[in-house]
Amino acid sequence: MIKSELSGSLKSLRDSVKKISLIVPSGVEQIRKVSSNILDALASYDIDDDGLFDIKLCVEEAVRNAIVHGNKSNRKLSVRTVYWVDGEALNIEIEDEGAGFNYKALRDPTKEENLLRNSGRGVYLIERLMDKVEFNDKGNKVKMTKFLGPKKI
């Protein structure tokens, strides 16, 4: 491989994992800004409407949880979102500055006795609609992964 080809392929490898970082204050009006930024960045991928719906919903649920539950809507505290596409996997990390929560203790919102509850469906939807979901031990950071189709030619 000649040198210019090598540097070209290294460049595309680097581009494919370029991380984009967004930091927003803890106001619910910021939620749509974060999801729109991510969806706009995915315009060159061949993702169907259902896939885009899932990504928008999961990002908005996670950012909402970070703002309302994590940072208790304290505007002095920020929510940091980092996202990148690695191969065909969209990775999104959302972190708040709160004390974290015990995600293992979440109620199952689909149980008969919980169906009438007003909350508790956000994390459940994320776990069902994303391909992989991980929380850090503290519970103030979630990493979500969704497998995308190949890039549009």
Binding site: N118, R121, G122
Partner: protein, 111 residues
């Protein structure tokens, strides 16, 4: 987001247009609170023009249903997009709500 309320065949039909999410949910709830205050017995909610629902939106619909049930009222949801219907299936809220394909189905069988 907008909610248009009409009377049809002795029933109340609500047409919701837009997204039902954390930002629009309080406004949607206000529209239904008026109907609930009047103890409206039967409401059909047409979601044909609803493109997006988040967990706040689902919670708002649950709240409306609970409030209606407190006085024996009944609520039916119609014209859900395939995607929004799938959210009701995933969350098992389909067991709680009467979900029907069309407004005509809901009205003609609402005894």
């Amino acid at each position: 987001m907008s909610v248009k309320i009409e009377s049809k065949a002795g029933l109340t039909v609500c047409y919701v247009d837009g997204e039902i999410d954390i930002n629009s949910s309080p406004g949607i709830k206000k529209n239904f609170d008026k109907l609930i205050a009047q103890k409206t017995p039967k409401i059909v909610v047409n979601l044909a023009k609803v493109t997006y629902v988040d967990s706040s939106g689902l919670a708002t619909l649950v709240e409306i249903l609970k409030n209606m049930k407190s006085y024996g009222g009944r609520l039916r949801l119609v014209n859900l997009s395939q995607k929004i219907k799938s959210l009701f299936e995933i969350t098992k809220l389909e067991k709680l709500f009467e979900i029907m394909a069309t407004e005509e189905d809901a009205i003609s069988t609402f005894l």
